[in-house]
């Protein structure tokens, strides 16, 4: 067990070293979440002055954007940490080492957690300091929302890593774009009832849909709906299982087709 932890620690150390010697990477980590939050905070302020609904639930847009960034950064944290190995053509050395695919997955998830904490945590702190923003006080409720968003991001991130193993850096665009494909469907800024009826069942398959619905319910009605959280969690379990399974299948495919030494090309 000690050796397993040591190997995961080694991979985290690899990312820490990278950040310590590359300030653009650190800047990128906090830049976009901060910029996003600021933009929506000003819009929120403007809408609150001109619309009763936003006056009633001041901060809902900032909460939406911070939570969306949690999901996005969670996914990006996994995929970018993996892409670093492809960019540096280091996957062959890692594949030969005792690091197992499960340990690789754990290290990617841990790296993503810290990246998200720094990026979104920084934006959240800025929202508090600059715009007096706070999440509604519903005990652990919002923490559970955030955990679910992270899990969904990780599941998607791992599946994209599977595609990266299979197709190499030609699948890199997916790392940035995949989540935006589902953004309109999961109702980040609006309830899914505004979607066409035929699209709504698709939304219900996305865990984030329940989280954003739950968040709005807390803001507008002051209710924390446990059933929404539970639905999101069950879906997340299923997607996490699929994400991990897909990455392991891709790894096995790569071992069969000799892609591990040549990855990155």
């Amino acid at each position: 067990m000690f050796l397993v932890i040591r190997r995961i620690y080694a991979m985290l150390l690899r990312h820490l070293y990278l950040f310590l010697c590359s300030w653009p990477r650190v800047l990128e980590l906090v830049y976009w979440p901060f910029l996003n939050m600021t933009l929506w905070a000003f819009l929120s302020k403007y809408l609150a002055e001109n619309s009763n609904i936003f006056l009633m639930a001041s901060g809902v847009l900032i909460a939406s954007v911070i939570m969306w960034d949690t999901l996005f950064r969670g996914q990006l944290g996994v995929t970018l940490s993996f892409i670093e190995e492809l960019w540096s053509r280091n996957l062959g050395n890692i594949a030969v080492s005792p690091l197992s695919p499960y340990e690789l997955i754990c290290s990617l998830i841990c790296a993503s957690f810290f990246r998200t904490l720094i990026g979104v945590g920084g934006a959240g702190l800025a929202a508090f300091l600059l715009f007096d923003f706070q999440f509604p006080n519903v005990g652990l409720g919002f923490l559970l929302f955030f955990i679910n968003l992270l899990i969904m991001g990780w599941a998607l991130g791992l599946a994209i890593c599977g595609l990266l193993i299979r197709f190499g850096l030609s699948a890199e665009t997916l790392a940035w774009a995949a989540l935006f494909f589902i953004q309109p469907l999961c109702g980040v800024f609006y309830p899914i009832t505004v979607l066409p009826e035929w699209l709504q069942p698709l939304s219900l398959l996305i865990p984030a849909t329940y989280i954003f619905e739950g968040m709005r319910l807390t803001y507008f009605e002051g209710i924390f709906e446990m059933s929404l959280l539970l639905k999101a969690f069950l879906l997340n379990l299923m997607y996490m299982f699929c994400g991990v399974g897909f990455l392991l299948l891709s790894y096995s495919y790569a071992r069969k087709h000799g892609l591990l030494l040549g990855s990155g090309e």
């Binding site: 190997r7 690899r14 070293y17 010697c21 540096s88 050395n93 594949a95 030969v96 005792p98 030494l261």
Partner: protein, 247 residues
């Protein structure tokens, strides 16, 4: 083969084959490598050397056949075996933005090396990396990078060392130092080395046995001197050319 010889075998390859679609990259390889032996895989480009190395290291699954390392199947026991082996190839890079020390630290942890700082210090002396330990890899010359790659491959004192073109792009002086270091390392640790190379003088100097490969099969094998005598040539390069140009 008596029992003592059987116990000395650290790599046993049995009916090893690899197909990539219609291409048969490796066909029915059978060989064994003893402890402290240095085996060279020789052959033209596309002969199947790297494919064979990848299967020996367990990162490429054979289509047929098996590889046993230290008496364990490399595919079903990869995790255990991977602690006892290591690999260097100038064409597989280490993270370029990290310093030499950072790279060696990461791989030291991955391989569970005890007294890591001491080990890195020792390698830096042995491979003349002392002055560049805290320099990022991307700022190093190709020759320096090759030595760092070798240091990474030796970080866990592997019982079996796989090398793909270990002295490619090194100047004759550094290449000679590396060969001397590998000879010393083998003498001290009784490690087994499997080497794919196009450098015939290097193979003649380092290797006790050679597998001549062509189009995925072994066309001849034996100690370098035996092959030179057998083909009536004056060196291994001439043997290589004879085999490569024979239809």
């Amino acid at each position: 083969m008596n029992n003592k010889n059987l116990n000395n075998v650290v790599i046993r390859v049995n009916k090893l084959s690899k197909d990539f679609g219609r291409i048969k990259a490796v066909k029915n390889l059978n060989f064994s490598v003893k402890k402290s032996e240095t085996l060279a895989l020789l052959g033209s480009n596309g002969a199947g050397k790297t494919t064979t190395l990848m299967m020996l290291m367990g990162i490429l699954k054979p289509t047929y056949g098996e590889v046993n390392i230290l008496n364990y199947n490399v595919f079903t026991n990869r995790k255990m075996i991977s602690r006892e082996i290591n690999f260097a190839c100038p064409f597989i890079e280490l993270p370029q933005r990290l310093t030499v020390r950072q790279n060696l630290t990461i791989y030291g942890h991955l391989y569970g090396v005890e007294n890591l700082s001491k080990k890195i210090y020792k390698l830096s002396i042995d491979l003349e990396l002392g002055d560049i330990l805290d320099i990022r890899l991307r700022k190093l010359s190709t020759g320096q990078k090759t030595r760092v790659s070798l240091a990474k491959a030796l970080i866990n004192d592997p019982k079996i060392l796989f090398l793909d073109e270990p002295t490619a792009s090194l100047d004759p002086d550094h290449a000679d130092r590396i060969r001397t270091y590998l000879e010393d390392y083998q003498l001290k640790t009784s490690a087994t080395i499997v080497l794919a190379s196009h450098n015939m003088p290097e193979v003649e100097r380092l290797c006790s046995n050679v597998l001549m490969m062509k189009l995925g099969t072994v066309v001849d094998e034996g100690p370098p001197k035996k092959l030179i005598n057998q083909y009536g040539r004056s060196n291994l390069e001439e043997v290589f050319l004879t085999i490569a140009r024979t239809e």
